[in-house]
Structure formats: C-alpha cells, structure tokens
Symmetry: C2
Subunit: 203 residues, 2 copies
C-alpha cells in the first residue's frame, strides 16, 4: 500500500475498511469523497452513526430495535395484535415488512439454537415468547426462522415450550422460489416442495 | 422501502447511502453491522471521519492533503527535490506513489481546465506552479494529467505559462496498457502508440 501523505486520512480509511464489504480501495474513495464535500456532510454522517449507536434500544414487547420503549410496529393501533410472527433477527423484520404481506406483530428471538456457535435456548428470547402467550391474546404464532437445521431445531424447541398455548402454531412454507426454473433448484428443496404440495386453486 | 422501526436507524442509513457506490441496502447492512459491534467501534469510526475532515489541510508547497503545513512527501529528505510531477488531483499522487516509480515531489493543480464545468486556468494552482519554478531549483517538470482533451489543454496552457522556465518539461507516455491484447485496444490509443513508438532495447 502506498504511503499516505496524511495519518488522519489513513486512520479514516482504516476505520472505514473495517465495515463489511468495504476494502481499502473503497474506503479511500469514501474518505476522499467526504474530504471533497462540505464539512457539514461529514458531521451529519458521524452524528447519525453516533446517535443511532447511543440511543437505539430494544422494544420491550417484541425486542425489535426501536427509538422508544415500545417500537413503532408494536404501538401501531392498525396492526393485528393477535398474530405473532417469530423471527431470528431484526433484519428479518425488515425483510418481512418489505413484502407488505403481514400485518401482525413480531417477536425477535435474537438468533437460533446453534450449539456449534455456543447459542443455547437460554441465549434466545424464548421464555419471553412463552410469557407473551400467557399475557397477550394471541390466536396464531407464525414461526419464520431460517430454513436451516438450526432453524428447524429452534422451531421444534419453541413448539415444545408452547405446549400450554392453545392457539394455532404455523410455519412459513418452504419450496421453490417464485421465478425458479426446476432444473436449477437443489434436490432437497425440490423434493420437499413435492412432498409439501398444496391443492391447486384457480384464481 | 419498508417502514423502519427506528428513525435513528433510518437517519444513519440515509447518511450512509449518500456515500458514492453505497445504496440503501448496503447502507442498511453497514448500519446493522455497527449496531451489532461494540459502541467504541462506531465512536472510532465517527471520530476518525470528523478528525480527518476538521484537521486535514493542504500542503503549503505541493497542495497535496497533509496533516502539517508541509506534507510528508515534501518534508522527506530522501526525495529528489529537483523533479516535480504535476497532477490534477490528490488521488493521482496516491496512484503514482503506489507505482514506487517516482521519487520526486508533486504539484497538485486541483483539477484540469474544463470550460464545460466552469473551471478556468485561474481556478487551478498554475500560478503557484510558475512561482515554484522561480523559487525552487527544478530540473524537470513531469506533466501527469489525464489523457483527455481537458488534460491536453491544461498541458498546453502550462507549457505556455512556463516559457521562462529553463528546465526540461516532459509528459507521461500514452499507449497500450501492460497486458493489453491489441484487438481490444481502442483505435485512437493504438494509432497513437504506433506514432509514438520507441526504439526497442534488449534488456
């Protein structure tokens, strides 16, 4: 790497290149861009990052990230309080919100059971989920965890923990993706999608 | 775009996505990465950016970015003070430093003459270059400006301005890039590289 003429620039590049997917070259481009912009642009960026990091908290009800004690989804009166979607991560909340297909509330576990990563059931918010089924009126719990061994294990564990829960427990469907050509789908997915076939309905 | 559950996150994503080559999705990934890291990581990043923006200055001699009044290159006693490389931009200094092929000093113009962008000769540090040829002992001035119409115009303008300068004025060579297959080189470059052919020497 070339000798930078400025340690300040070097530090900024160093910090930027710690971000995922940002290499030294991209970091340098970003730093030089900030240098060429107005000072207030860099201040706005730095302040937005600091404010986010210092002030963001987890919603007391669903454990999604939030600016208040209760997040915007949980406090929205237009959402269906009786349906709960259980997800591993706050990213999954955003992904499901993008689909505009779900109008209920969420419960963010904070991961899935994964002994190899040292994550056991007690590291996740499963007890909190059980408590919600006791204190809230929930008609359906949708398990929307990743389609991995760990996700399946967590689904099963949650199912066992919810033995006293009287409502419906469902799981999101697995199968071939919309737009997929059959020849390129992996055999496990294709096999399962045949086993889990649904009745064809004319629309 | 999905409704974020946090305005703070939204602001951070907004600011990050103003950076060149960073879209909303990448910005979100970066913001969530910072949220999952220690607070000190975000603070280090924000401080590095602010410090860079607030404290960086231009070298009084070559106008490269610098932490001090005179940059690390200009104040390095091992560099050849008698050879000056004229570049458009501080990025070009880094690019040339990366080649480890040049041991002289630089002069950063701050752009090239480009009437269409409203940049005239007086917006560049050409008068400062002329002054350096009068106050410093310079044997050779290497013009390393972009190989564009604007670069050529600027080369010619500088050449005219340096009419009283007695040293050598050279320009970096243009031709096919190392590793290029002839069939993919554009015809102007290939034509010029034939016109500007050099004597073959066995190494």
């Amino acid at each position: 790497m070339a000798e930078y003429s400025s340690i300040l620039l070097e530090n900024a590049v160093e910090e930027l290149s710690k971000l995922p997917g940002i290499g030294k070259k991209t970091a340098l481009r970003l730093a030089l861009h900030l240098l060429s912009e107005e000072t207030c642009e860099t201040e706005k960026l730095a302040n937005a990052l600091l404010k986010m990091k210092h002030n963001i908290m987890l919603c007391q009800r669903c454990y999604n990230i939030s600016d208040e004690k209760t997040c915007a989804i949980c406090s929205n009166p237009h959402r269906d309080e009786n349906t709960l979607c259980v997800v591993a991560d706050m990213r999954d909340v955003l992904a499901i919100e993008c689909t505009v297909s779900f109008n209920g509330l969420y419960h963010v576990l904070g991961g899935v059971i994964s002994p190899i990563d040292g994550i056991g059931p007690n590291d996740l918010r499963i007890a909190e989920l059980v408590r919600r089924t006791q204190t809230e009126t929930i008609n359906e719990i949708i398990l929307a965890l990743p389609a991995t061994i760990e996700g399946d294990t967590t689904n099963y564990y949650i199912y066992k923990q919810l033995s006293e829960y009287k409502g419906k427990i469902t799981v999101i469907s697995k199968g071939i993706a919309v737009g997929d050509a059959l020849e390129y789908v992996d055999e496990v997915t294709l096999g399962r999608s045949i086993l889990n076939r649904t009745v064809f309905t004319q629309k």
